[in-house]
């Protein structure tokens, strides 16, 4: 029930709270009102705070600080962690270097988004030794500002790192040992099981520490709802005003946190965050680096899990098309029974999967590429940063002497589920060097898909741009000048 809050030396208790309560609601009810609500959906970053977790780095215990959208994080997820809010940055009367930089560079106008920017910059201060524009864009990708046009904020971020001296240690860096000790004292690796007496019925919260216990809870509780980071699911609480009667957090389940880099396969635990999985994925599929930058904002990627992005079965999740094209498999577990299925068989219809009652995803298994295999991933959205895709395409090609021997293509945003495009694969394979590949691809896609019109894209645009993306992928593999604009270095083009 305890967590560390800002510079307080004694742990803070959450008190008797509804398990559906968010961190932001808890903060504002506790008079810590520097953290703001801008959207209550994890899109604007006005609510950004930083959460520190105990972790092992080079065999030493350290605290890892990551930015978080408090508006869609559950208060109970703080148990055993260190929460830092904008109120906790000053050391005595002295502003934190990131606060000072924002003042000097005029990084604030109306001020409402400012605490969120300050906190994202504070996380960057802890996690980066050097600065660059791409790093700043990544660190602040989840913060919207409507006043400044970002230019002075970018200048502030640069100036924090560009001081002649080394970055001075802040309060948390100076007191790391003390903080680690306190965190150890409130982390006992036990299962957490809480019951809150609601007005109508009791609400439960479970955070099991191991997979056996998780399997056990799920099989015995029909109403149990699995929540990992909740970056998608918790919107049902904040936007649709739902109340879950039994929340089961999988964040503490150690088996689900493991990345296993095997000889032939990469196995990623379902509760591994995107941020943590990135380096393993990029090692084998370098094209994913830019794609993952666009996957979501940093505060989302810090917590959102690979398994969550699959289990929520959204037709516009960005990772499933990639994983399908890579022929990934899922390890599913129910009680003690484990089965392995191909990811492309996991999705049934819109938001429906083959998961049975009491069953959960334990890991994702991705076959490693051979040297002839090339993965290219595209995302079409209305804005490059922090947006939901209209169309995602992943194309995985095995090339022998410039000709494909196999092509696998999966698409998101084109149907009720993330889906493999078998007809399109064949057309692409057969017409690799045809000048009219886009027209041919268009014909194949029209046969296989009839996407919706919605706010993100029209059906016609989805179909046509997908066809051109096939052409573009081939051009990229042939070395033509058709870079994805989201990835370019602007100054190279001036």
């Amino acid at each position: 029930m305890h967590f560390l809050l800002n510079q307080n030396s004694t742990p803070t208790t959450l008190g008797e709270i509804n398990p559906n309560m968010t961190v932001l609601e808890w903060l504002r009810a506790s008079q810590l009102v520097g953290t703001k609500e801008g959207c209550a959906s994890g899109d604007c970053g006005a609510c950004t705070a930083v959460v520190g977790e105990l972790t092992i780095k080079d065999n030493i215990k350290v605290v890892e600080y990551k930015s978080i959208n408090t508006c869609i994080a559950l208060a109970f997820s703080l148990i055993g962690k260190h929460l830092i809010t904008v109120e906790g940055l000053k050391e005595g009367e002295v502003l934190h270097p990131v606060q000072k930089a924002m003042v000097i560079e005029n990084g604030s106008q109306c001020g409402f988004c400012t605490p969120g920017f300050v906190m994202s910059m504070f996380a960057m201060y802890h996690n980066e030794d050097t600065v660059s524009l791409p790093k700043i864009n990544e660190a602040l990708s989840g913060n919207l500002c409507r006043c400044t046009g970002y230019k002075p904020i970018i200048a502030a971020a640069f100036s924090v790192f560009n001081e002649e001296n080394e970055k001075p240690l802040d309060y948390y860096q100076k007191n790391q040992e003390k903080i680690i000790k306190s965190l150890i004292s409130i982390n006992d690796n036990e299962n957490i099981s809480l019951i809150f007496k609601g007005d109508k019925n009791n609400l439960s919260y479970d955070a099991p520490s191991n997979a056996d216990e998780l399997a056990n809870i799920l099989i015995n509780n029909d109403s149990a709802k699995i929540v990992a980071a909740g970056t998608d699911l918790n919107l049902e609480i904040t936007q649709s005003l739902k109340e879950f009667s039994h929340i089961v957090s999988v964040n503490g389940v150690k088996e689900l946190q493991v990345i296993n880099d095997g000889e032939f396969e990469l196995e990623i635990g379902s509760a591994v965050s995107y941020q943590k999985a990135t380096s393993s994925l990029v090692k084998y599929w370098p094209d994913l680096e830019a794609y993952l930058h666009r996957f979501a904002s940093l505060p989302i990627k810090n917590w959102a899990t690979i398994g969550g992005n699959i289990a929520n079965a959204s037709p516009i999740g960005d990772m499933p098309p990639v994983l399908i094209a890579l022929e990934a498999k899922l390890k599913l577990r129910k009680e003690s029974k484990v089965r392995i299925i191909a990811l492309e068989d996991f999705f049934v219809t819109y938001k429906k999967t083959v998961l049975e009652k009491g069953e959960f995803i334990e890991s994702i298994i991705i076959p490693k590429p051979d040297k002839n295999e090339h993965l290219i991933a595209h995302k079409i959205s209305k804005r490059f940063e922090d947006d939901i895709s209209g169309v995602c395409m992943a194309i995985n090609v095995r090339l022998n002497d410039d000709l494909p021997s196999s092509v696998k293509i999966a698409l998101g945003g084109m149907s009720g589920i993330p889906q493999r495009a078998l007809g399109l694969e064949k057309v692409t394979l057969d017409n690799w060097n045809d000048e009219n590949i886009a027209q041919l691809a268009y014909g194949a896609i029209k046969n296989e898909f009839s996407p919706f019109d919605d706010v993100r894209a029209s059906s016609e645009y989805r179909l046509k741009v997908s066809a051109n993306l096939v052409k573009k992928s081939i051009l990229i593999l042939k070395g033509a000048a058709v870079e994805n604009l989201a990835e370019i270095n602007q100054s190279n083009y001036l």
């Binding site: 924002m102 001020g111 409402f112 988004c113 409507r146 970002y150 230019k151 595209h378 922090d386």
Partner: protein, 746 residues
């Protein structure tokens, strides 16, 4: 304070125990007859105190000019998202949950959603407005070259980070203090008094700061404040309302979207001889400020160009959508985009660089200097400002580099554009151009100001404090600006039309001068001096050969019974306007600027990336260059959002689909270009006698972003010269895609 999270917005204020919270139940159709409202379940929901319906409200209608907006819908709903019922509960969450339990029986009626539908059905909120000069028809007929076309210009959601919020606290004797996040405390005061059936002096409205306004809190704050006040009166308890983002986007108005139909005649060298533009605006269900907004659109359909024969007509389309309202630029941007699009098309038709066409049509200093609404452009600097930017930005070299790049690349194409801004400063409703201020000098030499302007992040409070500190010759730390309060300065105008510093700065200065006058009169006699021997500087006062600290002089003045506080008043000179003819001098002066944008378009996907932006902008003699720079950069990016990624979408039944940050995309940090050079035009001062010869800066920079949209249009044209682009705004990737030739259907 901002960086520490200690600046309190209304939702951050600690409220008395027992404060209740409001949430709304909204219409789920765009147009319908209300047959029944079932509040039984909601009333029994957890924490609910009461439910308010239209029938419970005696003075139901409010509005800024005419009272045509019911606080809650009564017999008929006229837009999707219109408030029908308000729930009062013990917490924000409980109020929202209960509001969701209210059920309506509504018979859906036919709705008019789009401008085209309104034009076809002649659904208007008034007569068309016409600005006319010369004989456009004749000039077009006679012209050697002609073109015509249509452009649709999208609206824009304000997306202030702090949503609408109000807190009403009953005091005694039926009086009330209302904290409102508003640009217009006086209007909130008057409307709250109206719905409560009381006099203005019973209501005090206080606005410390807003988390952004941009025009969205000029009139749209009143509804929330009125509902809070009604509930507070009913239950004699403090009542707070803050809207969820979705409700905020649904309930409040946006920037007007426009359809512009145009016809133009021009000479072989691209000189415009005659032009006709019909600007039809989606105003929504009520009048709000639409008339002034459409009027301003007409006043900017010339932008910086002299057009001898012009007919600009503005149509106020009444639609079943939320009532569109003020948004930074106030119609000006839409008018300006219409003419800039035309210039670009003339250039494409003639096969010359658009800059040539712009220069040949610019207003000149002594001739060709009368606008279609008869105002003489007396302060024109657009020619020299543009030349300076052409030089600074290497425009001509870049033009060649762009052409070379486009020759070498098949799938990636570049576009480049330079566009000017000439923006008229003053409220076009002359009576609003007045302001008051109150300045107190305390015995210890500290100074306190209150004025009619509100702070929404634009730095007004700092600018006015600077003016006051400067007048007394003291350091700015000595000056405090209080929350804006209707109890201190009455009958104020909204903080809008970029006029905040011009008006309130002058009013505050006037108050300072009066106090200095009092002090000087005393000193003349006391120290036996003559006028000219008294100077306020360096926190001291020079009294002939004697020099004493400001503090001591204040103290001495007090001891000698000198009045150390004063009001100040200002009204803008020279302006007049005949609304029936749409002629006169609506603007005291103009602000100028120009911007060069370069973009790179991916012809396979329609995606584009902004590569470089160069801006040169005129703020007269800047009061505060750092603040002005912030306004220019921020205004530009906000304009870029309007023209690029921000797309409002309704379905055919009038349901707004883009109701949150996940579907409505304002610019994010990566959209700020790496090459982003912004310069304030140096060594220049306002032609007119404004506060310290400065110029307004709030709105004009937004329109610099038109160059970005033009650069995209230019890139599409460069991809295929035979392609007469029908690019509309916003230039979403999808729209760009369909404007490029992608022959997939063959």
């Amino acid at each position: 304070m901002h960086v520490q999270g200690s600046a309190a917005y209304i939702d951050d204020m600690s409220v008395p125990e027992g404060t209740l919270h409001v949430a709304f139940a909204l219409s789920n159709v765009a147009h319908g007859k209300i047959n029944g409202i079932d509040i039984k379940i909601a009333k029994k929901a957890q924490g609910v105190h009461s439910v308010l319906l239209a029938k419970d409200i005696k003075h139901l209608n409010i509005g800024p000019l005419i009272h045509d907006e019911p606080i809650l819908a009564k017999d008929e709903v006229v837009f999707y998202g219109q408030a029908i019922a308000a729930v009062l509960a013990d917490s924000h969450e409980n109020a929202r949950k209960a509001a969701a339990l209210i059920e309506f029986q509504i018979t859906e009626l036919d709705s008019i959603v789009t401008v085209e539908q309104a034009m076809a059905k002649k659904s208007f909120l008034g007569e068309p407005l016409v600005v006319n000069t010369g004989d456009a028809d004749k000039a077009i007929n006679k012209a050697k070259n002609k073109l015509n076309g249509r452009i649709t210009i999208g609206g824009q959601e304000h997306y202030y980070l702090e949503g609408q919020v109000a807190l009403a606290m009953p005091t005694e004797d039926n009086e009330m203090i209302v904290h409102s996040s508003t640009q217009n405390p006086t209007e909130v005061q008057h409307l709250v008094a109206h719905v409560l059936g009381t006099s203005h002096n019973a209501i005090e409205v206080v606005t410390r700061r807003m988390g952004g306004g941009f025009g969205g809190k000029e009139t749209d704050s009143s509804q929330l404040a009125c509902v809070c006040a009604l509930f507070a009166q009913l239950c004699s308890l403090p009542v707070k309302a803050r809207l969820s983002r979705r409700d905020d986007i649904l309930m409040t108005g946006k920037r007007h979207d426009f359809v512009a139909d145009y016809e133009v005649g021009y000479s072989d060298d691209g000189k415009i001889q005659g032009i006709k533009i019909d600007l039809a605006a989606r105003c929504g269900y009520s009048l709000d400020l639409s008339k002034a907004i459409v009027s301003r659109a007409l006043f900017h359909a010339d932008n910086a160009y002299y057009i001898p024969n012009a007919t600009f007509r503005g149509f106020l389309c009444k639609t079943n959508t939320a009532s569109n309202t003020a948004f930074r630029g106030f119609g000006g941007p839409q008018g300006m985009l219409a003419i800039e699009n035309i210039i670009e098309e003339i250039a494409s038709n003639l096969g010359v660089d658009a800059l040539t066409i712009r220069k040949i049509n610019f207003y000149q200093k002594n001739t060709n200097n009368v606008t279609p609404y008869d105002q003489v452009v007396e302060d024109n600097i657009i020619n020299e400002l543009t030349s300076e930017l052409v030089e600074d930005s290497n425009y001509l070299t870049r033009r060649e580099k762009v052409a070379k790049f486009n020759k070498q690349n098949k799938y990636l194409k570049k576009g480049l554009a330079l566009s000017p801004v000439k923006f008229g400063i003053s409220f076009t409703t002359p009576l609003l151009n007045q302001a008051g201020a109150l300045v107190n000098v305390y015995k210890d030499g500290s100074i306190y100001i209150n004025h009619g302007g509100t702070e929404m992040g634009q730095g007004l409070f700092i600018k006015v404090a600077q003016v006051v500190a400067n007048e007394f010759g003291v350091e700015i730390e000595r000056v405090k600006v209080s929350a804006t309060s209707t109890a201190k300065v009455p009958n104020t105008s909204p903080t809008a039309a970029s006029s905040g510093s011009d008006l309130n700065g002058m009013a505050a200065r006037e108050a300072c001068l009066r106090i200095k006058q009092n002090m000087s009169e005393f000193a003349l006699e006391h120290f036996d001096l003559s006028i000219g021997e008294i100077k306020f500087q360096d926190s001291c006062v020079l009294l002939g050969k004697k020099k004493i600290t400001f503090d001591d002089f204040v103290s001495l003045s007090y001891l000698n019974r000198v009045e150390l506080f004063s009001n100040g008043f200002y009204k803008t000179p020279k302006i007049y306007f005949d609304a029936s003819k749409q002629k006169g001098r609506p603007f005291y002066y103009y602000s100028y600027g120009a911007c060069v944008s370069e973009v790179l378009v991916d012809c396979l996907t329609g995606e584009y990336k902004l590569l470089a932006v160069d801006i040169l902008h005129d703020v007269g003699a800047s009061l505060n260059p750092a603040i002005d720079m912030g306004q220019i950069v921020g205004g530009y990016i906000q304009g870029m959002g309007w023209l690029c990624s921000e797309e409002l979408k309704w379905n055919d039944s009038g349901v707004l689909l883009t109701t949150g940050a996940s579907t409505y995309k304002i610019p994010a940090i990566g959209d700020t270009p790496e090459h982003f050079k912004v310069k304030i035009k140096p060594n220049i001062s306002n032609h007119e006698n404004t506060i310290h010869k400065s110029k307004a800066v709030g709105e004009p920079p937004l329109m610099l972003a038109i160059s970005t949209w033009l650069a995209i249009k230019n890139a599409i044209y460069n991809a295929d010269n035979s392609n007469k682009t029908g690019l509309n705004a916003p230039a979403s990737f999808e729209q760009v895609f369909f404007n490029l030739n992608n022959n997939l259907d063959q």
